[in-house]
Symmetry: C2
DNA sequence: TAGATTGTTAATCGATTAACAATC
DNA sequence: TAGATTGTTAATCGATTAACAATC
């Protein structure tokens, strides 16, 4: 799977396809045409076919797409068939919520550890995992083959922590801190800037929901 | 402020400009050229000037942009100078985390109420606000002039709840449920699909962080 | 086989970048 | 005034949509 140069726009749409196909599968639908999927998802059929064909031909002329097959193929493209160990750094409200809320495990994301720099919170058990002090982070990551770090700490410490993570060989950072991280290009950073999102919403209210 | 047809791409970049300008301001920087800002933010100077000129000329030839002025203008464009009442629907981990975590108030977002459909959790106090049962939601919204609903409930109830919200005259929904809502076009929906974000990250790991 | 629908090429549309005249 | 830097037009690039030949 090394078709490079797949555009970010396409990748960003894959999870949504995956969600709709999962729903169809759950409803016992076996096949679907790009046109029917297009109506359901409110995107053009053309875009659907173009998107899928970035990764090879998953359909069949005159038939359409087999729902379960396509669902499984997208899972593979997204890497959901592989397991990833992760740690959560920052055991505040958001860190704890993520540990509890997402069913990480169902998609192969295994919460190995939760860290915080506040001694008072260390030892507290979140979702069966005892919060550890960040002093032990580097060692823990190397020992437990951790791929992903979830950063749920205030922006002040985030940049420095990200640099440490980069050195430990973490492959990806899921960044909830309101700051841009500066890490080597081979490390994946996926930002979730909640305040940015809220500002976009605010813009929409003030400027009358154009679309 | 009704320049319609500002592209989504531009709007999505505004919060990031706002963040950088805020930092510059905090550091006592008075003016900045598009070129210097370009280096800082790692975008082209051309894009910066184009973006700002969607909303009118904020700069001055030979001088650049006044940081504080530009910061304030972007705040206005984003509607951050207006106050918005909001309710959080779903007092689970994520709902509570958002109530505590974001400093909503600082940006003019006032948490008026927190709701849940689980009687057991009603009455619990989160950030000084007592959780209420969703039965009273509609009445509460109408009475308290609520603009924004934050949806932090499982996807099963989200679509129906969104329809109710639409009827109550809510202007915007900040949707954390993993489902696409179906509301009239005049209601702003800003989605935060965390699982989609995690899948994009997963893709990045498997496919070797292209950029 | 005929009908349906994909895979793929070509056309269009929009967003980004480059260039430069206007102007502080 | 000369230098700097914007505002804005023009050129390029990329993404989306339309069209249709290939094929199941």
């Amino acid at each position: 799977m090394d078709d490079k140069n797949i555009s970010q726009a396409v990748i960003a749409r894959l999870p949504r396809y995956y969600r709709y196909l999962g729903d169809l599968k759950d409803n016992g639908i076996e096949r679907i045409s790009s046109q029917d999927l297009s109506k359901l998802m409110k995107v053009t059929a053309s875009q659907i076919r173009q998107d899928f064909n970035n990764f090879g031909g998953f359909g069949q002329q005159g038939y359409g797409y087999n729902v379960e097959y396509l669902y499984d193929e997208i899972a593979k493209i997204l890497g959901l068939n592989e397991k990833h160990n992760l740690v959560i750094i920052g055991a505040g409200n958001l860190g704890q919520a993520l540990a509890n809320y997402m069913n990480f495990e169902r998609r192969g994301f295994i919460v190995k550890g939760i860290f915080d720099n506040n001694q008072a919170i260390c030892g507290k058990v979140v979702r069966g995992i005892s919060v550890q002090h960040v002093d032990g982070l580097e060692k823990f990551i190397r020992k437990n083959d951790v791929d992903i770090a979830v950063l749920t700490i205030p922006k002040e410490g985030a940049v420095k922590t990200a640099e440490v993570l980069a050195k430990c060989g973490v492959k990806a950072i899921w960044n909830f801190a309101h700051v841009d991280l500066n890490v080597p290009a081979d490390i994946v950073v996926e930002n979730v800037h909640l305040s940015d999102s809220l500002m976009k919403l605010s813009y929409g209210i003030v400027n009358g929901s154009v679309e």
